[in-house]
Amino acid sequence: MSIKIDKERCLGCRQCLSVCPGSLIQPDENNKALIRYPECCWGCASCVKECAVGAISFYLGADIGGRGSRLTVQSAGPLIHWHIEKADGSRQTITVNRQDANQY
């Protein structure tokens, strides 16, 4: 369980550094976000949600059955669009409205 940071997209805004509950992200030499302890990631996706430019994706480790899919988040008002890109390049989106309670 961990995250990947797309350095091309990262703006260096440090929001992810601040919000990580484990303080696992630090700035690199170019002031872009670096996940310094990838194996310490809990998988809470807080940083993924915080990133305004979709530079952070998260994935399941191979040891827990991960097959290379990546999950990114795009927030639009109350809507959270969860984009999944599989290793084969296929994409899928699930949209959750923060105003809707869980049915279960």
Binding site: S18, C41, W42, C44, L60, G65, I84, V96, D100, Y104
Partner: protein
């Protein structure tokens, strides 16, 4: 160049350690009901820290129409096989609905029917969208001028003199800062402890656990060091969770009514009983007797249920939704495999934590505890943590009112400050030792797993094994004196390991003291495999002159308040 820490002195009325559910709610209560200042010290950032970082799917402690707080307390007592504090359960249960109404006013979305009534899940739960429950709390805190939030500050030790607390010491998680915070009253609102035992997935995904891996037992360890009394640490929590992702199962089990089945397709949950520990025990037994793996029977759900489940998990444990999508099989097409986690110490689910009065004051005067750090009150969950934060804040206010005129805030002696600071600087400035922090952490988890009833031991142990565990953990504590940190983040890792080792030693002593098996899914003492009602009492402990004393206390009778008489 020698690394040094800048000393920063701060003063507040009410110091709150940990900005989670209990801590934030306590701060908000104090600021609403008094003119006192509160300072929340949070090791991460209150917007997404602690257990609720990813969100939560339901309020699991709620008094639904037709039920009473007394019903809730009776249920929790039964589930814990009698080892609870009924005064704590009742006062918690009396408070939960009001706190939930408050959260709704701040913006929490709760599922309602056409008449505008909350939709219940079972007898005690309501359904919410809790993805943003931490941002909601953080926003409420930000509105209050009396509350100061210190993010990225990790509290390490209390300032205690003559069994009264005067504040706490902490360090910056990034900044080279040593904090000396003076306060009239202090609330321990930290999490419990994960990471004591080897986890389900000890490799790359070692932190893909259910309980927050950043809950390192800090609050409990600093209490143990300060001589505070702890209770029922031996009631560990082992959670039944989705395999690999270790995501919660209640949304599937209670939400869509999926049954626990073994590999033969037999529903086994009735066979072992329905308490939380019995459900866990059943799954362990089915596996041991060759009928594993076990599953939640989701095959046959509708496509609509598939979609709602995927959304629900995104709001709480997104890895589980990713798992379904990645495997290409929906829950309706493939049962969800379940497994038990490694044991955790968490007072939100079991009765382990600080021994407190009905007002949530610990045995150290002026030090309160609420939420996962507070013992005696299992099944409090999120709303119970709010309620305990409220109770503790009111009690702290009353204590400060009665102290007015004789301001007890006092700075610690400069010698004590220098000693604490120098010990930390030594860790930053020494040469790297043979063993790294992560090496000792792995060793600790291996010892606890093998000798103190971890997953590989099917949660079983003997007294001889516990003795071996105690000796080996003692050796690691000696090795931990030489650990080195290259920067502040690593210094926090070193301190967290030491906290865990302190807690392991107490946990082992508690497991050893209870000579029966009361919660078989959570812990099985192979030397005493039966429940024995001679053990209907609390196992408590405290450090006296550097040595851990373990002793029993009689159950607090129903209907009685509890004040500390002998602290």
């Amino acid at each position: 160049m020698k690394k040094e820490l800048d000393v920063i002195y701060l003063t507040t009325d009410f110091l709150i350690i940990g900005g989670g559910a209990a801590g934030c709610y306590a701060a908000l209560t104090l600021s609403r009901e008094s003119g006192y200042s509160a300072l929340i010290a949070e090791k991460a950032h209150i917007k997404r820290s602690g257990c609720l970082a990813a969100g939560v799917n339901a309020i699991n402690a709620y008094i639904v129409p037709g039920r009473t707080p007394e019903d809730y307390a009776a249920y929790a007592k039964k589930d814990a096989e009698g080892i609870v504090r009924e005064d704590l359960l009742l006062t918690m249960a009396q408070g939960v609905n009001q706190t939930v109404a408050q959260l709704e006013a701040w913006g929490l979305v709760i599922l309602k029917d056409e008449q505008g009534r909350y939709v219940t899940r079972g007898d005690r739960n309501i359904k919410i969208n809790g993805e943003n429950i931490k941002p909601i709390l953080a926003a409420a805190v930000a509105q209050e001028k009396q509350i100061t939030v210190l993010n990225q500050v990790n509290i390490l030790n209390y300032i205690v003199k003559d069994n009264r607390v005067y504040g706490a010491y902490g360090i910056g998680v990034e900044d080279y800062a040593f904090y000396v915070i003076s306060a009239k009253t202090v609330l321990c609102a930290t999490g419990g402890a994960a990471g004591l035992y080897k986890p389900n997935n000890p490799g790359f995904s070692r932190h893909k656990m259910w309980y927050s891996p950043f809950n390192t037992g800090a609050g409990l360890a600093m209490g143990i060091r300060a001589g505070a009394e702890m209770t029922t640490l031996e009631m560990r929590f082992v959670a039944l969770r989705c395999k690999d992702t270790i995501a919660p199962t209640g949304t599937i089990a209670q939400g869509v009514g999926a049954k626990q089945i073994n590999a033969l397709g037999e529903i086994y949950e009735q066979k072992y009983g329905l308490t939380t520990s019995q459900r866990m025990y059943g799954t362990t037994r089915e596996n041991q007797e060759g009928r594993g793996p076990c599953y939640l029977q989701t095959k046959g759900l509708t496509p609509e249920q598939d979609n709602e489940l995927k959304k629900a998990y995104l709001n709480m444990a997104p890895s589980q939704t990713l798992k379904w999508l990645e495997s290409g099989k929906n829950p309706s097409e493939q049962n969800v495999e379940i497994e038990g986690t490694e044991p955790y110490i968490t007072g939100g689910h079991t009765a382990s934590g600080y021994w407190v009065s009905t007002d949530r004051e610990t045995t150290v005067r002026g030090l309160f505890a609420a939420g996962d750090a507070a013992g005696g009150c299992p099944q409090k969950y999120v709303s119970g943590a709010f309620a305990e934060g409220e109770i503790a804040a009111r009690a702290a206010k009353n204590q400060m009112d009665s102290l007015s005129g004789c301001n007890p805030t006092s700075l610690p002696e400069s010698l004590a400050v220098a000693r604490q600071k120098q010990a930390l600087e030594a860790i930053l400035n020494r040469e790297p030792p043979l063993f790294r922090t992560e090496d000792l952490e792995e060793a600790m988890q291996q010892i606890m797993d093998t000798y103190a009833g971890g997953i590989s031991a099917s949660y079983r142990f003997t007294v001889s094994q516990l003795d071996a565990a105690a000796e080996k953990i003692g050796q690691l504590e000696i090795l931990s004196h030489d650990l080195q940190a290259r920067d502040m983040r690593e210094l926090v890792f070193v301190c967290e390991l030491k906290e865990r080792l302190t807690l392991c030693a107490s946990l082992i002593a508690h497991l050893r003291a209870r000579r029966e098996t009361r919660w078989p899914g959570f812990a099985e003492n192979s030397d005493y495999p039966q429940k024995d009602d001679a053990w209907l009492k609390y196992v408590n402990s405290k450090q006296i002159n550097g040595r851990l004393a373990v002793f029993c206390r009689d159950l607090v009778p129903q209907g009685e308040r509890y004040e500390h008489q002998d602290r």
